[in-house]
């Protein structure tokens, strides 16, 4: 996990399971569309991996507006997992992703969700036959219809079931994405048992904001997911907890906006990273962060820094 992959420029290259990334920085699911939206505004050579918007078997319309609201150093979103469905994805979105992969070496991971474990598996099976996709990322923050709408990610048993079903359906790389709402250690164990290659830590934290004049929630859907710098200490702590527990390779994220933020996640134990909300204000946030991270690393190899944070020395 921590030897720099062969044949790649050494300092920033990372290997995670079977994947080789030229840059540790990925674009987080739901914050980079299907890639094409960013064309011309991002330096693709700095994008190690692209995690697509969440994909379901059938197209989904998503929630009515307002869908987003800014909070203190963060934002809430309740987009409602709007997406074109498997068929629409293959017809309209995949061609550009193939081109990205071919021309820029961007690793493409499709973020999956469903309302039944079987739906995740069907999606993974369908994608398994397609060229131009390196793997999938399982989004567990979705209501499980068979469990009365409780999210897959709230129980180790369902997390295991989904991971195993996907693992059996695909030979490609499988990452499982956890929310800091946890219980992260149990879920991590379930994902490993289910055969995942890596964990993404992680998703947004449930949050709420209320318009006190109109006395209603700021989002049409009620609550939403908190992302951005406000989330960073929370996800960072989960990454370190997972790393110390000896988990699968970790893809870290949550509020990364600078090279120092990225390095914090690496020092806590992440091998690769996801940049989400920062892309909204700066479409080439990944390029900016890449340059800053390189400066912050100095002469060190990134892989030598993974999990290197200790307690502070006594004064």
């Amino acid at each position: 996990m921590s030897a720099p992959p062969e044949g790649l420029p050494a300092q920033m290259a990372v290997r995670i399971g079977s994947l080789q990334l030229a840059s540790p920085l990925g674009l987080a699911s739901g914050t980079c569309g299907w890639g094409a939206e960013l064309e011309g505004m991002v330096d693709w050579s700095k994008v190690g991996a692209l995690f697509t918007k969440g994909l379901s078997l059938q197209p989904r319309q998503g929630h009515p507006p307002p869908r987003i609201w800014e909070t203190a150093s963060g934002m809430l979103n309740a987009i409602g997992l709007e997406n074109p469905g498997l068929e629409g994805f293959v017809a309209d979105k995949l061609p550009f992703l193939r081109q990205l992969r071919r021309e820029h070496g961007v690793v493409v991971l499709v973020n999956l969700f469903g309302t039944l474990a079987q739906e995740y598996a069907q999606l993974a099976a369908a994608l398994d036959n397609l060229e131009g996709i390196d793997g999938v990322e399982i989004n567990l923050s979705c209501p499980n219809v068979e469990a009365g709408g409780i999210e897959f990610g709230r129980s180790a048993a369902t997390a295991f079931a989904v991971t195993q079903a996907v693992r059996r359906a695909t030979r490609k790389f499988v990452a499982v994405k956890l929310s800091p709402a946890g219980p992260v250690l149990e879920l991590a164990a379930a994902a490993r048992a289910g055969g995942a290659d890596a964990l993404t830590m992680g998703n947004t934290m449930p949050g709420l904001a209320i318009d006190v004049r109109r006395r209603c929630s700021r989002l049409a859907a009620g609550s939403g997911g908190l992302s951005g710098p406000a989330l960073r200490p929370i996800n960072l702590r989960c990454v370190q907890q997972l790393f110390e527990a000896g988990s699968l390779p970790l893809i870290g994220g949550g509020g990364i906006a600078t090279g120092d933020d990225a390095l914090e996640f690496i020092l806590a134990g992440a091998v690769a990273l996801q940049v989400g909300t920062a892309t909204f204000a700066n479409p080439d946030a990944v390029g900016t962060i890449h340059a800053q991270l390189q400066t912050a690393l100095g002469v060190d190899h990134l892989t030598a820094c993974v999990g290197a944070a200790s307690r502070p020395p006594p004064p």
Binding site: G30, T31, C32, G33, E37, L38, G40, M41, K53, Q61, G62, H63, P64, P65, P66, R67, I68, W69, E70, S73, G74, M75, N77, I79, E82, G228, P229, A257, T277, T279, F280, A281, N282, P283, D284
Partner: protein
């Protein structure tokens, strides 16, 4: 032609407070090399006052004017932290500009159109002085009518309506529009509308009644401005969602606002 979308660090040239200071209206002029390239009426930019870390997202504002290839102007009303940060900037301060984004108002013959604007919906009409014979602008009261003078300074003929009758026509801009359409010797060939959703829907209904084409510029909360956050969804007549930052913000109103079910 779609202009190259880009991020530029612009400098504040000047900030002109408009009308009653309490109303919180201002014109913000920015410059940077090539900043005006690709700017057209209806398009918008995402703006952020650099060094004010109280916002993590940029805010959308319609282009109001250009001055040569390097200078652009916005009309901004203070609503919260984002707009306040822009209006409080001082000459020389840096403002980051992402854009231009979005589509444009159609290129109809000069003078063929009437504009209908509510509040901050005034802004795009600064670039429509030639296409619009007149712009009907509605605000709550005179103190909030500061954008009228800014439009007039760009050669726009403005008919003001205030809810409280403190200036211009007493009543809503819709009532003014209805009256004007009734008595017009030269009715317009189309309406361009920009303002709150309720006002746009009413304008669309009136246009339909007069069998006039109507183009409306929609507003939704935007997270990015370039199609990746999916925050800016707006319902269309088919019941689907339009992502108005890339698909709009300007629409044939008939695609967005359904005809009223006949009673």
């Amino acid at each position: 032609m779609v202009a190259a979308r880009r991020k530029q660090a612009a400098k504040v040239v000047r900030i002109i407070r408009l009308g009653d200071p309490e109303a919180g209206l201002g014109q913000v002029d920015l410059c940077a090399s090539g900043l005006a390239v690709g700017v057209e009426a209806g398009r918008f930019a995402m703006l952020e006052a650099v060094g004010r870390p109280d916002c993590i997202l940029k805010r959308p504002f319609s282009y109001f004017g250009t001055e040569g290839p390097d200078q652009i102007s916005f009309l901004i009303k203070e609503m919260g932290a984002g707009s306040r940060g822009l209006l409080q900037a001082r000459p020389g301060d840096a403002i980051e500009v992402l854009g231009p984004f979005g589509n444009t108002f159609p290129h109809l013959a000069s003078g063929a159109v009437w504009g209908v604007a509510g509040g901050v919906g005034a802004a795009p009409f600064g670039l429509l002085a030639d296409r619009c014979a007149r712009v009907l602008l509605g605000t709550r009261r005179q103190a909030e009518a500061g954008f009228a003078a800014a439009l007039q300074a760009r050669g726009v003929v403005v008919d003001l309506a205030t809810d409280d009758g403190s200036a211009g026509f007493a009543g809503s801009v819709l009532a003014l529009l209805e009256k004007a359409l009734q008595k017009a010797a030269q009715p317009p060939q189309a309406l361009f509308a920009c303002g709150p959703t309720g006002m746009l829907a009413a304008t669309a209904a009136l246009a339909r009644a007069h069998t006039l084409p109507c183009y409306a510029s929609l507003e939704e909360r935007m997270g990015c401005g370039f199609g990746v956050c999916r925050g800016c969804a707006h319902r269309d007549v088919s019941g689907g969602w339009r992502c108005i930052c890339v698909d709009g913000p300007v629409y044939d109103a008939a695609q967005i606002f359904a005809a009223p079910a006949s009673a």
